[in-house]
Amino acid sequence: MKKWQHNSLLGLEYLPAEDIKQILDLAKSFKEGDADLLPTDSLLRGKRVINLFMEPSTRTRIAFEIATKSLGADVISIMGEASSLTKGETLHDTAMNVQALGAHGIILRHSSPGSPLLLSEMVQVPIINAGDGSHEHPSQALLDIFTLREKLGSIEGKKITILGDILFSRVARSNLWGLMKLGAKVTLAGPSTLLPDEVASLGVKVSHNLHNAIESADAIMLLRIQHERQQASHFPSLSEYSKMFGLNKPLDKLLKREAIILHPGPINRGVEIDSELADSSKSVILQQVRNGIFVRMAILYLLIGRKP
């Protein structure tokens, strides 16, 4: 296996394509039960991983917990809101405390963009970004891309549409970087208030028309509408959003027969997608969740397990 060069996983914007592929290949080996990696629960034995979640999260945290335990490491989860370790403290002070706990790696979820980079400058241990504000969510994008690769064979040349609240979405940003590096033809689609036109200069298509955005797509990646924050000033109502940008059953006939639908969850049924489509054979939403474990095992192993 190629030597892993990076101390932390802060995002996909600066991660070279070959390193993205390395994570995906290793995740595949975990999924297939590669004999070289057995027993998996010995790979991180003796290591201690801290899940530092300063913002509420269930599925990402649990997926990281399962992945960490599957590799045999101890995991300590600290929820920012509830913990006296972090209450009222600056990130710097929290980082010093966490380092003092003897962590071999820190998985950070934080509402501030750039906070994993800041943390990585404060402590010596690897940092895994589990979502920083609207900036990046690399492990989510890697599991999305892993699922796409599994379903579509490869990413190169495939037409992928990311649909929804692009402006506030860290999932959109990480997928954008990852997919472009692997040669996908990316279309970003959504209401003009949630999708700045300047993004086209990154080499992607920008569309405010749902039909155009989905009709030739090999995959459609839906984003969760965070209506509590954006509704009033960015779109009139959930029902209008659903009418203009929701993926509903009648649109199914516009989609390519073999097209697949992804969603990072949690789904707002009837808003981003009809229940019927969400549960249809096109939907790979549950496979994404399962693949999330293997991708995170690969990330943890590369960052924490293979250190001298």
Binding site: S112, P113, S115, L117, D132, G133, R173
Partner: protein, 429 residues
């Protein structure tokens, strides 16, 4: 440091745009006063300044110092020590102090502290509206009696148009300079940086240019309609520069400034989430920076300010969105402006003296009695070929280091400042 009240300054080029002076003249200082007659004096030191420049001392149109106890910013003693090194002899303090400069008692307290601790002259702007909230007019007449020199809600701007117009009308009665920091609050609310492709990549909520542009439009319209002079502070966008240029062509009584760091830096400085580059206003794009330089050169922008705002390290060493905006600047404004303008024009020292020394005095209705025989010596000595680095070693050793200019090299440097007949800073003597 020596109190050099008697010396001969030989061979320097005096650059004084107020009188269009730009030639080598020897200056003789006797008992702190300027004379041009070469009299001998026993205790007189002869200083060779050949190749150096002498300019009028600078006046800063925007400086913040929030807390006199030094909890959230440095105290007057440190701030004005930095100002002395930067060639500033007068600083206009913005009213977002603790307490806010919106009552005569607060104004008297702040000015009293300044008189006690400051090394150079600190003058104060009072608020346009009570607590700078944009809801009710401040008692500007009483504030003037207590000693304010201008009015502004900087770093805010009254959102309510009626209040803004009435505040301007009211201030006009007292002939107080009116300074507007042009912002549309609902467009800037929650922002963390300039709105751009970079802010999208970084996941930062951006402030669009139009937030500044709409407020500039308003100020121009109000100035035109009421026939009142309004000074626009810290212009940061190309669109504002264009609006001001057009307004000036129509003889609207508008003046404007930008900060030295906006002439030198762009939003690229925040790409690694460097909170020291989170300035107020935010750093913008290269097209904005170029337009600001053009505006300074063609006279659209009348002045250059420091926008100085110190924050102790522990408040800046936090997540980017949680860090307060603001940068040090009073120590580096001249060197940064020189570096930025040197690339565009030959010998920018005359232009910079106009923007840092002459025009700010005009905007604040202050006298221009530079290099007058018999007056106390107040001027800067400048080395244009100093080639120095602004670092933790060379900066004044205060509590704050919040500047994106740290470890940058500069060509020009203030090497001494004479202030009221004394030398208050010198790296030369």
């Amino acid at each position: 440091m020596k109190d050099l009240i008697n010396c001969d300054l030989i061979g320097a080029r005096i650059v004084n745009p107020a009188t269009k002076t730009n030639k080598c003249i020897d200056l003789y200082i006797r008992n702190g006063k300027i004379t041009y007659s070469p009299q001998t004096s026993k205790n007189c030191e002869k200083i060779n300044l050949s190749g150096k420049i002498i300019t009028p001392s600078f006046v800063d149109l925007r400086l913040h110092q929030k807390d006199f106890a030094g909890n959230n910013s440095e105290n007057f003693s440190v701030t004005t020590e930095r100002a002395a090194r930067g060639g500033f002899s007068m600083l206009l303090l913005m009213p977002n102090t603790t307490p806010v400069a919106d009552s005569p008692a607060a104004v008297r307290l702040i000015l009293e502290r300044a008189r006690r601790d400051a090394k150079v002259k600190v003058i104060l702007a009072g608020t346009l509206t009570q607590n700078a909230e944009g809801k009710a007019l401040s008692p500007m007449g009483s504030l003037m009696e207590a000693g304010i020199s201008a009015v502004t809600d900087c770093p805010k701007s009254p959102g309510n148009n009626k209040i803004f117009i009435n505040a301007v009308k009211y201030a006009k009665m007292f002939n107080l300079p009116i300074i507007e920091y042009p912002r549309t609050s609902d467009l800037s609310e929650g922002s963390m940086s300039h709105e751009s492709l970079l802010s999208f990549k970084l996941g930062l909520q951006g402030e669009p240019r139009i937030s500044e542009e709409l407020a500039v439009h308003r100020a121009i319209a109000v100035s035109k309609s009421l026939g009142v002079s309004i000074h626009l502070s810290s212009i940061s966008t190309y669109s504002s520069v264009n609006l001001i240029r057009e307004a000036k062509k129509q003889n609207v009584s508008i003046t404007a400034d930008t900060t030295a760091h906006h002439l030198l830096l762009t939003e690229e400085s925040i790409k690694s989430y460097d909170t020291n580059a989170k300035t107020e206003p935010y750093l913008r794009e290269e097209s904005d920076r170029q337009a600001l330089i053009d505006g300074v050169v063609d006279g659209t922008l009348d002045a250059i300010t420091s926008g100085h705002d110190s924050w102790p390290n522990h408040l800046k060493k936090v997540e980017f969105d949680k860090a307060p905006p603001g940068t040090l600047g009073v120590e580096t404004a001249f060197s940064a402006a020189y570096k930025a303008l040197f690339a565009s024009i030959k010998d920018p020292i005359r232009l910079i003296s106009e923007k840092l020394a002459i025009n700010p005095r005009k905007i604040l209705h202050k006298d221009q009695n530079h290099f007058v025989e018999g007056e106390l010596a107040s001027f800067n000595i400048v080395d244009l070929n100093s080639n120095w680095e602004y670092s933790k070693k060379t900066m004044y050793n205060g509590d704050a280091q919040n500047t994106p200019l740290l470890n940058r090299s500069f060509q020009a440097k203030i090497i001494a400042q004479f202030y009221n007949g004394r030398i208050i800073y010198s790296s030369l003597l």
